[in-house]
Symmetry: C2
Subunit: 357 residues, 2 copies
C-alpha cells in the first residue's frame, strides 16, 4: 500500500530514520560500555522491543505491570518495571511475569520494598534516587539507608540504583549546572555505598535529551532512553537530535478552510494536548509548510493559522505533522505504520496502548 492510501489521521514511522536511530544508540552504548535497557513506553510495540534487543539491548524497560505483560512478547532477558509496584493485583501480575523472565523493579520507599518482599516475588531491585527532578526517588542522603533495608529483605535481590534526569532538557545554561550537581550527587552516593561495601552492579540513568552525554556521567553504567526510537519536536527542539532524525509524523487531512485558516482532522485525541517542553505556542510542526502555526486544538480538530503561507492546501489535501511529544501520541493510536520510501511496509498494533495499571 502507498502511504497516500492510508486513512487519516495516521501515525507513520519512516523506517529508514527509525533504524538509523536504533543503530546509532546501540552503537553509542556499545562504544562506551553502557548497558542499554530502552524504555518501551514510547512505542508500546513488542516487535520494536525485539528490534532493540536484537541490536544489543540487555533488556527492556516498562512503566507499568500491564506494560510488562505486553512486552513479554518481545522475549526480553530482563524486564525493568521502572515504577513503584503497589497493591495486590499488580504484585500478582509481577509474579506471573517473573515466571517468564527476569524482572527488576525500581522503588523508592521501604513500604514498596516490604510489600514486594512480603508478596514473595523473586525480583531484582533498583533503589531509585532523585538527582534533581523531584519526582520519585529518595534523596541522595537517604539512599544508603534504603539499600541496607532492601538488602535485608527476603526475595529481593538488590541490583543497584536508578535515576531519571528528566529535569535536564539539554546541555546549555541552567542545564549545565543541573548536570554538574547530578554528577556530584551521584558521586557522593556511590562513595557512601562503597564505604558500606554496597557496590551497585547497575547504575541506571539516561534519558533521550542527555543520551549522547551519558558517557560523561561517571559511575552510570546503564541508559534507558525511550523517545530516541522515533524522536519528536521536543527532542529536536532540545537539540538532542536533528529534524532529520524525527521518524514519526501524523498524516492528517484538511477538512475545512477559510481565509488564512485551516482545520485538520486531528486534535487532542490524535496528538495529545502536550505543549512543547521547551515552550512555544504550537501543538506540532506542519511539515513542508513554512509559516503555518498549529495553534489550537479540540478533540478532533486542529486549528492551523496559514496567513503566512504560500500554497496552503485545499480541503481534502493532506498535511503531515511532526508532533510535540510522540510517546503520548502513539498511545492514542490503535495502529501505527512503518513506511519506506512511500510504501507501507509494516502495520503495528500498539499493544501496550492504554495499559495503565
Amino acid at each position: 500500500m502507498h502511504i497516500s492510501e492510508l486513512e487519516t489521521p495516521a501515525l507513520v514511522v519512516d523506517l529508514d530514520i527509525m533504524e538509523r536511530n536504533l543503530s546509532r544508540v546501540a552503537e553509542y552504548a556499545r562504544a562506551h560500555h553502557l548497558r542499554l535497557r530502552p524504555h518501551t513506553k514510547t512505542h508500546k510495540i513488542p516487535a520494536l522491543g525485539k528490534r532493540q534487543l536484537a541490536l544489543g539491548a540487555v533488556g527492556l524497560t516498562v512503566a507499568k505491570t500491564t506494560e510488562a505483560e505486553v512486552m513479554l512478547d518481545a522475549a526480553p532477558a530482563d524486564l525493568l518495571v521502572a515504577y513503584p509496584v503497589l497493591g495486590p493485583q499488580k504484585l500478582e501480575r509481577l509474579r506471573q511475569v517473573a515466571k517468564r523472565t527476569q524482572v527488576t523493579v525500581a522503588l523508592d520507599s521501604l513500604d514498596a520494598a516490604r510489600a514486594l518482599s512480603s508478596a514473595g516475588v523473586d525480583v531484582r531491585v533498583l533503589v531509585e534516587v532523585d538527582l534533581g527532578l523531584g519526582r520519585t526517588g529518595v534523596a541522595p542522603a537517604d539512599v544508603a539507608a534504603l539499600v541496607q533495608e532492601v538488602v535485608g529483605l527476603p526475595h529481593l535481590d538488590w541490583d543497584g540504583l536508578m535515576f531519571y534526569p528528566g529535569h535536564i532538557k539539554g546541555m546549555s545554561g541552567e542545564d549545565e549546572a543541573r548536570v554538574a550537581k547530578l554528577r556530584r550527587d551521584l558521586h557522593d552516593v556511590l562513595l557512601t555505598l562503597t564505604a558500606l561495601r554496597l557496590v551497585p552492579r547497575v547504575v541506571s540513568g539516561g534519558s533521550t535529551p542527555l543520551l549522547f552525554h551519558s558517557h560523561t556521567i561517571e559511575g552510570m553504567n546503564e541508559i534507558r532512553p525511550g523517545t530516541y526510537v522515533f524522536n519528536d519536536l521536543n527532542t529536536a527542539s532540545m537539540g538532542a537530535c536533528g529534524f532529520q532524525d524525527c521518524a514519526a509524523t501524523i498524516i492528517t487531512t484538511v477538512v475545512s478552510r477559510r481565509e488564512g485558516h485551516m482545520i485538520i482532522d486531528g486534535g487532542s485525541k490524535t496528538f495529545s494536548s502536550d505543549r512543547l517542553a521547551t515552550g512555544g505556542a504550537g501543538f506540532g510542526q506542519i511539515v513542508g509548510l513554512p509559516g503555518a502555526l498549529f495553534h489550537k486544538m479540540n478533540e478532533e480538530h486542529g486549528y492551523v493559522d496559514i496567513r503566512e503561507c504560500t500554497n496552503a492546501p485545499a480541503v481534502g489535501e493532506r498535511v503531515q505533522v511532526l508532533p510535540n511529544h510522540i510517546c503520548v501520541a502513539v498511545n492514542l493510536h490503535e495502529r501505527i505504520y512503518g513506511v519506506r520510501q512511500g510504501t507501507v511496509e509494516e502495520t503495528w498494533t500498539v499493544a501496550g496502548r492504554g495499559k495503565l495499571q
Copy 2:
C-alpha cells in the same frame, strides 16, 4: 466487587449521579420540545448510547466514521456524523453504516458535499454554520448558497443546519455578548433561508455549557450535548453543573511521598494533559483533600503539592481525582467502571477508544 478492589488508576462513574444527569437533560429536552441527539464522543460506549436512546434521544452523534461503526451497537434510529467526511475509505465506511441505520452527515464545503454525492451514499445532510467559534462551518452569509448546492446534488437529502457554540463557556460577561450575536446570526440565516423557501427541518446546536439555556435560542430545535453524561471539572468550573453532578473520577494510588509533596500513579496517559478551559493551574481536583494542588504531570506520574493539606495520604493509600476534561480521559482507558454506593456494578469497555478515522 468493592471499589477499593479496583486496580489503579481506574476511571469510575457514580451511577446514581450519571443516571440523574441523563434524566435531567432528557426531561429538559422533552419539556422544551428540543430534539436530543447526544454526542457519544464523551463515553464512546454503546451501552451508554442505548441508555440515552431509551430516555428519548432521537439519535446519537459521533465525530468520526469509525465511531459511527462502534455506535451501531446501540441501535440508534439515526446516527449523525458531525464532521466532514472526506476520502474514499471513510465514504465506504459511511456506506456500510448507512445500510444499517439512517445516517446524517454535517458538512461545510461544496467539496465535501460533492464527494459524498459522487460516492452515491444516501444520507441526510446538515450544513454546518459557524456562529462564532471559528472552527468548521461556513460563514452565516454563505449558508444559503451552500444549502442550494446541496439541495441540487443527487443522493443528498438536505435536512437542516448544525452549529457548535464551543466559544461560549457560560452565560456571563463576554459570553453574554457572544450568545446575543449567535442569536442574531442564526435569526438572519433562518430568515434568508425561509425567503428562499429552504426551511430546515433540523437546527442542531447545543453544547454542555449552554445546555440549559438552549430553549432561549430561537430557531434551534435540537441539542447535541456530550459531556453532561459525566460532567467534569471544566463543566463545574463554567457553572454549567454543580460539583455534585460530576459522576466520573479517577482513583489513583500514592506511589511516592516526600515533605509537602506526593506522586500519584496517573499522569498525561491517564488524565490527558488538557488544562482547565476556564484557566487555572491544575490537572484535576483531588477529592476530599482541600489545599492539594495537582500542579504537574509526566506520562505516568502526577505531582501533587500537599503543603497546605492536613492528613495527606501515605504511600499505598488512594486518592480520587476529578479530571479537568472527561472526554479525553475516557479515551485513554480500556475499561471504565460503573459504581453504586461503593460497589462496582458495571464494567464497560470503551469500544470507541482510539477510533480516529
